[in-house]
């Protein structure tokens, strides 16, 4: 009897584990004020970047923040709970305005934020693209939840990024296209919409997951089955690879309402619409290897033709996929990333070795890879203290993470 009661209690516990988190989406720029401003030219954007002291608002952001443009948004990264801001901006007369939101990466706290840079505290110089401007001051407010922006936030330029950072080719790789569904970013993992916002979190590259439909079309999806973690309720259930591409595309909707993307759509979007420079194409099943190789080869060639700094690597996470890749004719010419041993990296002449972060910084092995002209990434590092340690003491060329905002902070703040 006791065992039966325990069994039922355990099952009830399992059923109650599906906690729906209702995260607030702050209303940004409700009066469409930014439409009256002029977008900043690219020369002005670089002037703003750097490390800033937090004069007011330390409760939210800590003592220092990193200010960095990422394609179309200004991002601010802090070391406090992985806090970050994503801001859209423009100038009116000689005052620069920013409106957006803040968010803690490690929990669901968020709110609106708005700033301006006064004309006599950097506004004029920034608009003119004056790179000697060092008196930049952001003056603004932030709110909590759907509340008004009624708390003061003031940032003052401290220094430019260090030469080491400027010369670094360190890659910040966002997991599942930019973040997981469990990070509540408002868009679904492995979707075009997620890839579109990945750079706002400081990502220079993304990791995406590829599977193959029943009729041979590679598409983005992580799990082996249709489930409510990734999808909305639909008429089809079961193993994802049991369905044709047309069936998946038409009958399945991702968690936040997006259509499931084909691998081609995703890679073409990266190529044509973003500035991302690395794609880690994680093959979830051995069946998708050949189709992925054909597609990444085509897109890599197009990137070269366009003069685009982009490289797509075939991720090899398991032995069966390794064997399939090793058997592929001319595999040595295909950009690849091996998560297995160093010897296997050498065996297929992979470009990148990617061990799990829990194995430590492994500087000696990373140096061996560097000596052989290869790169080394580690995955999937989310712990703030280890992110700091790996950046300051490790020699990896990139970190795959669910929290690119935290990696960005510790990378750009390096002296």
């Amino acid at each position: 009897m006791k065992k039966t009661i325990i069994l039922f209690a355990s099952l009830l516990l399992i059923y109650s584990c599906d906690n729906e988190v209702d995260i607030i989406s702050p209303v940004i720029d409700p009066s469409n004020f930014l439409a009256q401003t002029t977008p900043l030219p690219n020369s002005s954007k670089l002037v703003i970047e750097g490390v800033y002291d937090v004069l007011d608002g330390k409760d939210l952001l800590g003592d220092q923040v990193v200010v960095k443009w990422n394609r179309d948004r200004l991002s601010i990264f802090s070391g406090n709970n992985g806090g970050y801001l994503v801001l859209d901006g423009g100038y009116l007369d000689s005052v620069i305005f920013f409106i957006g939101y803040w968010r803690y990466a490690t929990n669901t706290e968020t709110g609106v934020a708005s700033f301006y840079i006064p004309s006599d505290e950097g506004g004029v110089e920034i608009i003119l693209g004056d790179t000697t401007a060092t008196t930049i001051r952001f003056v603004g407010d932030y709110g909590v939840g759907n509340g008004l922006a009624d708390r003061t936030l003031v940032l003052k330029f401290n220094r430019d990024f260090s030469q080491a950072v400027k010369q670094s080719e360190f890659d910040i790789l966002a997991h599942r296209g930019g973040g997981r569904n469990s990070d509540y970013l408002g868009v679904s993992e492995n979707s075009i919409e997620m890839i579109n916002i990945a750079e706002r979190f400081g990502s220079t590259g993304i990791e995406i997951d590829a599977r193959l439909s029943k009729d041979g079309v590679p598409f983005l999806y992580h799990d082996s089955d249709i489930n409510l973690r990734l999808c909305q309720k639909s008429l089809i259930w079961g193993q994802i690879e049991d369905f044709t591409w047309a069936q998946l595309r038409t009958l399945l909707t991702l968690r936040n309402g997006e259509k499931i993307p084909s691998l081609r759509e995703a890679l073409e979007f990266v190529l044509e619409e973003t500035l991302l420079s690395v794609v880690w194409l994680d093959t979830k099943d051995v069946d998708v290897v050949n189709a992925s190789i054909a597609l990444l080869t085509e897109i890599n060639d197009r990137a070269i033709t366009m003069g685009r700094d982009l490289k797509i690597y075939l991720g090899i996470p398991a032995q069966d996929i390794f064997d399939a890749f090793a058997a592929y004719p001319g595999h040595q010419q295909i950009p690849s990333l091996v998560e297995l041993t160093i010897d296997q990296v050498r065996q297929v002449d992979a470009d990148i070795w990617a061990p799990r972060w829990t194995q430590g910084t492994q500087n000696s092995e990373v140096q061996q890879m560097h000596a052989e002209g290869r790169l080394a990434f580690c995955w999937t590092l989310d712990e703030t203290s280890y992110i700091e340690e790996f950046i300051n003491e490790g020699e990896f060329d990139g970190i795959l993470t669910n929290y690119p905002t935290i990696v960005s902070y510790y990378h750009y703040i390096q002296q």
Binding site: L12, D18, L228, W237, A246, Q247, R249, T250, L251
Partner: protein, 193 residues
Amino acid sequence: MKIKKILLALILYSFTAFGQVTDKPYTLTTEVGLGYSRYITTLDYDDLNKNGFSGTFRIMWNPEYLLSIGLETGYQYLYSIEMTNVDTEFGTSDFSASMVSVPIFLAIAMRVLPNLKIIAGSGMYLLYNNGSAFGDALESNQVSIGAHGGIAYTYPLNNLISIGGELQYSYYSKIQDQNISLQFVFIYQLLEW
């Protein structure tokens, strides 16, 4: 706290109130239920048919106490839909889809009145998805943990056979939907010892 007290009272009651001491206190019964099933879902399709057939098959061990334990399987219709001439990015297509479930459960029943018992079960549902779209079959299956609870009224026709009715609520964890079924129940005593 109140629920805890009620549960405790029911358990104590089961060991005392109707305890029967006979020469052959143990019986093994087989129970067959057939009836109507109604799927409860947030799936939003106008043409979704949520009414169908359900069947239950149980083998229960009944000791001298009021609690019985056994194994259960069966069939539950969940939904079906047919749509014609649907415009999609791949052209116009007819769709059909349906899903049924087969439980494989550990079931527990407790007699709360001489002819009335409550039944609960938990285990896994095998979910079978079928249909067609774009000229290709939809065919897949999935496992979901699940549970059901219900109440049954049975009337003994003789020492071996009882008949009655059972109302049952089922929950499917994987798809987070529910089902209610109303079944005619036939119970036959296979063994006693």
